[in-house]
Every structure is written in C-alpha cells, then in structure tokens.
C-alpha cells in the first residue's frame, strides 16, 4: 500500500514538475513576428533625417570648439579674452554643460563654471587623459569621450581638442562637457509626437547614452543583467557590430512585467574622433488611451492626502511610516494618489507601485523638457513644502508623458513625502510639446545675457530686455533679470514689473515663481515650469523657464508660454 502511495506521490510530483516546466516554457515561447518592408521603410524614413541632423549638430559643435581653440592658442590664461571665449563657446553650444581649459597635466586653468567646489581653478582635474599623439591623430576633429561622469559632476561626454602656445607647442586642451539628455530628449519628443516612435542611443561598446527612461542611461547593453534575454542580446550584438540595419527583439513593456516584441531600425552617427553612436529608433510607443477611468482629485484633496501622511510620519517612526507608505493595500493609496518618499539626496524611500526603485538615487532624473524632477521637489520641500510641476509617464494612459502636479512636504531635514495628480488640461498632456530648437533658443538667449553682461555690463542687458527690437530678442521668448533679493531688473513679458520686489508674488497654487527662480539660479541654473498671469488678459498659463546666474547677485532667465 505504502509502495503504491509512493508511486502515486512520485507521479504527481513528476506531473507537477512537467506542468510547471510547460508553464515556464509557455511564458518564454513568444515568437518574433515578421515585420513588413513597408514598416521598416516608414521607420527608416523617420530615422535618417534625424541622424543627418545629429551629425550636423555634432560637426557644428566640434568646429566651434576647434575655432575657439585656435583663438586661444598663445593667449595667457589670465587674459580676459580667455573667459570671454569660453563663455561665447558655451553660449553657442546650447546643449553643453560647461567649457574649460586644461594644462598638459589635465589640471583646470580656466572655466565658465563658477560653482567652485567641483571646478576649482588649479585643482580640478579632467576625467579623461589624452596624449599629445592622440590629439594630433584626431586632426581638426574633436576627440569624443565615452559617456561618463564629467568634471562638474554631471553625466555626459566631452569634446576635447588641443591648444598650443605662441610657439606652436602643445600646451593643453580645451574641453566642453555635453549634456546628452539635452541633445536627444527634444528629438525623442518630436519622434513620439509626430511619428509614434521613440529613440535610444548607444555607443558601439553597448553603453546607453540616451533613453527616455533615465534609469537605463549609462548601463551597458552587453553586460548589464537587465538585458540578458537571448533575443535582445542577439540584437544588441548586431547593433554594436553593424552600422545600420533593422531587427526585432523581446523586451519588457512599460509595466516591466510582460514581454513584448519591439522592432528597431538604426543608423550610425560619428560625433567626432574615436566614437560611434548607434541611433536606434523603436516602435514600442503604446497609443494613448483617451478613456478616463478615474476622477482626478482636486488640488485641495491632493494637499489633504499628503498632510494626512505627514501627520502619520510625524507620529510614527520613520520605518513604520515608510512601511505604511509602501503598502499597496494600505491607507496611503487612494485611486491615483499614493505617497512617495525621498531622501533630501534623491534616494527613493517609498514608491508603492515600483518597489524595485527603492534605494535608487534619482537625483539626475529629468523630464522631457529638462526639469530635474527630484531636485525641484527637494528645493520645494526645503521651502517648507508646496506644489511642484513636471512631466512623467501616466500608467492610466499607457505611460504617455503627461503634466503632473505634485504636493510635497518635508518630514524633517533629511527626507520628504509627496503625492501627485495628472493635469489633463495642461497643453503638455495634450500632445503639445516644446521643440528642441525652441529650448535651444531659450538656453542661447539666457547664456547670451551672461555673455553680454560680461562684455557690455548688466545695465546694457537690462536695456536690451526692455527693448523689443534689441538683438537679444527671439520671437516667442520673454527674457527677464532678477536680483538675489527678488528685485525685477527687467521683464519683457511684464515691463511694468521692472524695479519692483516680486518675492511676494504668488500664483493660485501659492507658489512664488521668483523665489523658485532665485533658488534654481543659485543652484547653478536649469529648467522649471511656472504658472503665471499672462498679460493682457492676466489669465494664468503654464510657462517653461530657463535660468542661469549672471553673477552671485544677479540672475538671467527667459520663458516660453506653453500652449
């Protein structure tokens, strides 16, 4: 009897093992479907103009670096012409971070960077070393580095070219850090909105230098465990080896749970000496669903929801609070509302629907328009809390990028909490987007104000902002300048604000745009959204703002009205 029982149990176990094997096999058995020639042609037709455009952008930027290097040959570093040449170069390459001159030992000797701590003159070191022979081998082209953390802490790549002394001897290098997110995110938005495709870019060694999901940037497609599916590895190998082509592979969809077929076409850009980029266009952009499944909470309900979590966090230990916030079945989930928590350094502490992100640092996370999401949240939390705007993927609309309004509160000086709602009526949620050329115009205009302030003086810049026909003006953009104390020196959108203190000006969400602008400028500058009354109707509209410091006490900015 016992013997029969053993046989039955063994048989059952075998059936169970075989069945589970079949289930596993079934999950992985998704076969790639053939892709029509028409579809490949359509994708190629969208890709090739962009690779041409990126190639031209890179050639232009490199030629500017080379031209500036020749202007600096034989010029002593303490000559004011050096600083002006570097500022002009940075202005003329809007997707650059900073420009710097380094001696033969890779030590920084002149820079556009004035943040001191990371770029101290005579102390800061370049992250890549090139020999004189390598620089000569590049000829008139720039050496393009691999994607890495640059000398000022940002991530991107550098253009490098040699600089010579008055006798024509090698004397050091001129280097410009390039922001790959700024370079590609606008092109990606264009592709998504105009063609329904999306973009990722990899070096030919497999390192991703751009993906719309910032968590993938910097990973190596060949070695990173995230990409170890056989169909993807085959495709990655082909992409790295072949300069152009098409392929299909299986990869996780936006849920990071299910696998789906992704079809790609790619082409190569040679951004300079020593580097190849594969520009990969994919068709995995889900169509945005229009059906509303939930009622969006009001801003008051959003604030109350966060305040409830704040009280909980203040009356429980941090561990208890984070456990409650991360509980998908707990009281801090209410429809589309959930509580997220971050450290003041940008580490994820709570994010109930994406537990895999806990512990991940999101300090450099950017939205498609360059808004550094966590950095804006932290700045707002350090003002005691309030509303923050940014774009992010909406899971209720097939993860389309939509405009989000979040409310954040600091729990103490080390961490903060928040929650957000999607703002459907915002133009950026309605397939409207800011073209990358407009964003480059904004950057150029602000950096031009920096340059002109150095050459002509701040009063001359103020006069140019106030003069609608000055050379500074660019159609559709509204430059302004503000002091560290909140005094508007000039404002092209609201000229009557000149000379007034605007620290106290708030919008309907209680946000002081001027305080935010000053905070952003003091952090080195960058992008932010604002809700402003726009004349002559004085109705509130969202704007995209770019700001940078002119000096320690004066800041320059410009904005574009969204919609």
């Amino acid at each position: 009897m016992i013997r029969y029982l053993k046989i039955v149990i063994t048989g059952l176990l075998l059936v169970l093992i075989c069945t589970s094997g079949c289930i596993i096999f079934a999950e992985n058995s998704t076969e790639l479907k053939p892709v029509s020639a028409e579809q490949i042609n359509r994708m190629d037709a969208a890709l090739y103009p962009l690779t041409y455009l990126i190639t031209k952008d890179m050639e232009h930027a490199c030629s500017l670096v080379g031209k500036t290097a020749r202007e600096l040959d034989g010029v002593p570093t303490d000559d004011p012409a050096v600083e002006l040449a570097l500022m002009k170069l940075r202005r003329d390459i809007p997707f650059s971070f900073e420009a710097g001159l380094f001696d033969k030992n890779d030590t920084l000797i002149a820079s556009t960077e004035d943040r001191g701590k990371t770029m101290e003159i005579g102390v800061g070191k370049a992250t890549h070393h090139y020999t004189e022979e390598e620089l000569k081998a590049a000829g008139p082209a720039c050496i393009v580095s691999g994607y890495s953390t640059l000398f000022h802490g940002d991530k991107g790549f550098t253009f490098t070219t040699a600089v010579y002394d008055a006798q024509g001897n090698y004397n050091g290098t001129l280097r410009v850090g390039i922001d790959t997110w700024s370079l590609f995110s606008g092109i990606n938005q264009f592709l998504r909105n105009e063609y329904g495709y999306t973009l990722w870019v990899t070096q030919n060694d497999g390192v991703v230098i751009y993906d719309q999901d910032t968590t993938e940037i910097g990973r190596n497609l060949i070695t990173d465990e995230l990409y170890q599916t056989s169909s993807l590895q085959d495709t990655v190998q082909t992409i790295c080896e072949d300069q152009s082509g098409n392929a299909s592979y299986l990869f996780y969809d936006v849920t990071w749970v299910d696998l789906s077929q992704i079809n790609v076409v790619w082409d190569t850009v040679y951004p300079g000496y020593g580097m190849e980029w594969r520009i990969v266009l994919t068709d995995n952009v889900p169509a945005k669903t229009e059906t509303e499944t939930t009622t969006t909470p009001t801003t008051e309900e959003l604030k109350s929801f966060v305040e409830k979590a704040y009280v909980y966090a203040q009356t429980h230990t941090k561990e208890e609070a984070l456990h409650a916030f991360n509980d998908k079945n707990g009281e801090f989930i209410n429809g589309e509302l959930y509580i997220f928590a971050y450290s003041m350094e940008g580490d994820v502490l709570s994010i109930p629907y994406q537990p895999g992100l806990i512990g991940v640092n999101r300090w450099i996370r950017e939205d498609p328009n360059g808004i550094k999401i966590q950095q804006r949240m932290i700045a707002r939390a350090q003002q005691g809390g309030g509303y923050v705007n940014y774009m992010t993927a909406n899971p209720e609309h097939q993860y389309a990028q939509e405009f989000k309004l979040s409310y954040v509160m600091p729990v103490d000086d080390t961490w903060f909490i928040g929650a957000g709602i999607y703002v459907q009526e915002n133009p950026l949620s309605q397939n409207h987007y800011v073209t990358w050329t407009k964003r480059q115009d904004l950057t150029y205009q602000v950096r031009n104000m920096q340059y002109l302030a150095k050459t002509e003086g701040i009063p001359a810049v103020v006069a140019m902002i106030n003069d609608p026909s000055s050379d500074l003006q660019i159609e559709g953009l509204y430059p302004f300048s503000v002091t560290e104390n909140g005094i508007h020196l000039a404002d092209a959108l609201n000229p009557e604000l000149a000379g007034t203190n605007q620290l106290g000006m708030t919008n309907s969400l209680g946000m002081s745009i001027v305080r935010e602008v000053i905070s952003l400028a003091q952090a080195g500058g960058g992008w932010m959204y604002g809700l402003l009354e726009i004349p002559p109707a004085n109705e509130e509209q969202y704007v995209l703002i770019y700001v940078e410091p002119i000096d320690a006490a004066t800041y320059a900015g410009s904005l574009i009205i969204l919609g």
């Binding site: 305040e307 350090q382 203190n501 002081s512």
Partner: protein, 122 residues
Amino acid sequence: MAISLVITVILILVASLGGLLFGASIIFDQSLNDPDVLVHPAISGNDMIITIYEGGRVTELAQISLEIEGYAPVVQNVPGGATEIVYVGIASQVTGTRAVGVRGIFTDGSMKILKIIDFKFT
C-alpha cells in the same frame, strides 16, 4: 564575598541601563505618538503659514511665536479651533537658508518648541 559584590554591582548597572533605555524609549514613543501640538510652517510668497494639525495640548495652545534666524520673534494669538496661523508679509525681506523655529505658548504660561527646521527662502 568580593565576587558576589561585583556581580551585584553589575546586575544593578545592567538593570539601571535597561531601565534607562526602556524609559527613553517610552519617552521617545510618547513624543511620537502624542506630540503636544503638531505644527508645520510653509512659505507662500512673503507670508509664512503655520498649520496646526493635532496634539495632546492643542486645545491649550494660546499663542505661537515664529522665530526666523536673524530676525526678532513674532508672536500671534491662536484663536480656539484655529488650524492655520498666517504671518502676513513676515518673509518679505528674507532670502537664503535660515533656521525657522515655532514655539508654542500655552494657557498655563508654559512654552515649548514645537518645530525647528532649516528653511530655504530662496
């Protein structure tokens, strides 16, 4: 004799330390679970808004003193049942990062610091 004395001393020390830690943990838990008054300061333009949430002595709260580093404290009355006290224009000249303290003054005349936080005004 000497050994038993040493053991007794050690036992007393261990017991004292345990009691101290236990007591500290009770005090800590009580301060978390039952704050005198839970408040939160935030800035809106030039105004500072102190939101009053809850607490064991919230009904006894008579006044709030808002103290911004580098500026004189400003005291405002707390009407019964108030959930928000607005300090209009108090931040009109305030920029940079400063410590902000909120002190509660209760009906029995006692005072207690309810919140201290570093604030980035710009």
